[in-house]
Amino acid sequence: MARYEGLDFYAIDKQLTDEERMVRDLVRNWVEDRVIPIIEQHCREGRFPMHLVPEIGEMGLLGMNLEGYGCAGMSNVAYGLACQELERGDSGIRSFVSVQGSLCMHPIHAFGSEEQRRRYLPEMATGKLIGCFGLTEPDYGSNPGGMVTKAVDDGDSYVLNGAKMWITNGSIADLAIVWAKLIPPGGTLADGRIHGFIVEKGDPGFSAPEMHGKHSLKASVTSELVFEDCRIPKDRILPGVSGLKGPFSCLNNARYGIAWGALGAAQACYWSAREYALSRTQFGKPIASFQLVQNKLAWMLREITKGQLLALQLGRMKDAGTMFPEQISLAKMNNVDIALQIARIARDIHGANGILDEYPVMRHMANLESVYTYEGTHDIHNLILGRWITGIPAFE
């Protein structure tokens, strides 16, 4: 197969700075050399490619859009492009980087104490310390405000009880950003307010068993986090935020990256489908010469190009500080949606070959099912937009 090239139908490349292009090319080459050759095997075995973490850290991709503390301080567009290239490799690799940077380093950077920043961020930037983000619970997914994990002030420490589920990186993490309701003295869960806590591996009463049996994101670690009278020092609370605003600020950053990332998976599928259609002969000619196949490819081209324009403009607004969350919802929802449809159509174009892991399409397709659900399901983003349009929240 010819060497992968990204799709640039609308000359979006020319809208990028030299530096952004360099980041894109760096990550693209790294993915080509280091991820593509091993990823199918890792998926087959359900193993996260742990050996890539130091390399990802060395390049500086972890927390790359943060300033200081060993972070590269790049633009959000550069961060988006990195996500796109990583997810062209595999959504699991991109998930690792999203969780580390946007969901774990960002809250420490934005809401942590100076001491916490210095203690964790430099080593997280190199990948020496791995983080995970615990928001979702077995009974509270789309409705995290209902969470029942609680923290109680016990003099010189906080005591956490509860469980998180579906936590990316959980079992390989050195620290977890855990969102729990801090119960005031003598109060009940209903009086609790959501706070972020840093729980470290080895803290008493904390365990993170891995979840098995996934058909999706198989090269990514997904775990439960269990807190049984888990006692942590007082200085592990994130002092700078309370309420759902905390986790949502993290999610906004990660969702932004996903809006780009999904385009990487979509382009990988488009690329593979195009190559396959040109080389596969049926009825005496390449299947690419049939109008129905061309229609499918044209649709992919059209949707990817629109998605790129959404992502780039979203990134420029984020860099300018003018982006608002509903705009992220639109891009996350749209780009993941089209990526998933493109993956399915690409699978179709590959015929029976499409179900083999000799081609990347079914892996991307299965991965994107998770991406469609996590970081706000497709429909939750519809509801967010519905609220923006009508002013009427329809969540409950």
Binding site: A2, R3, D18, E19, R21, M22, V23, L26, N29, W30, E55, E58, M59, G60, L61, M64, A72, G73, M74, A78
Partner: protein, 263 residues
Amino acid sequence: MKIGVLLKQVPASDARIKIADPSTGIDTADIKWEINPYDEYALEAALQLKDAKQASSVVVLTVGGADADQRIRDALARGADAAVRLDDPAFEGSDCLGIARILAAAAKAEGVELLLAGKQAIDGDNAQVPGMVAELLGWGNISVVDKLEFADGTVKAWRASGGGARDVVEASLPLVITCDKGLNEPRYASLKGIMMAKRKKIAVKGAADLGLDPSTVGAAAALVVEDNWSLPPERPAGRILEGDDATRVKELVRLLRDEAKVI
């Protein structure tokens, strides 16, 4: 010690080459450029010497137009300290010797003691320039090196010398060394490197800056003239032999003996 790395941009190894005009050369319109892969080994070797504090700085020397800046920036992002792009209308149409004259003058002007280069550029595959640079400077030259040790100003270099034998060459500075695959594993740039590269300047120098007599370089001075470009003949399609294994093996042996004349 200051190291100079001779770095050239070449069409990507999988680029589809088209001839624009047989008298001028290839069509560069849709070409994606990259750093000559062998030059990447040279750059990496230089950066490793710098990391090991055996070199004080690494300067990239490139003959080329502004379109080479992106490749130079990549080298700067990986850790090179400075770059000089040698660009002058007088350089147009230089042959290998002309390019070598430019690079030798630049190496002198930059005060480098060690020049590292790829063993060849994968576009023209001439493998001439570094040797000529060494000759012009009166320096030693070790070519096609795949292992390098450096201690107290003495270089020990390993190279394949054919038939599975290996040469071990010891030499002292100043030197020109050309690098082969296997010497090292070129590093990726880092984002911090990319940010830092933004602040590094690519100096552009011409004949006058180098004190180079323009009549010794460029098309007029070229001893080698490229006047007719054509693509290599298309490889004929392979042949699939028919029949059962026994007949096909027999037929294959016959073809290898009678047609290909290799057995």
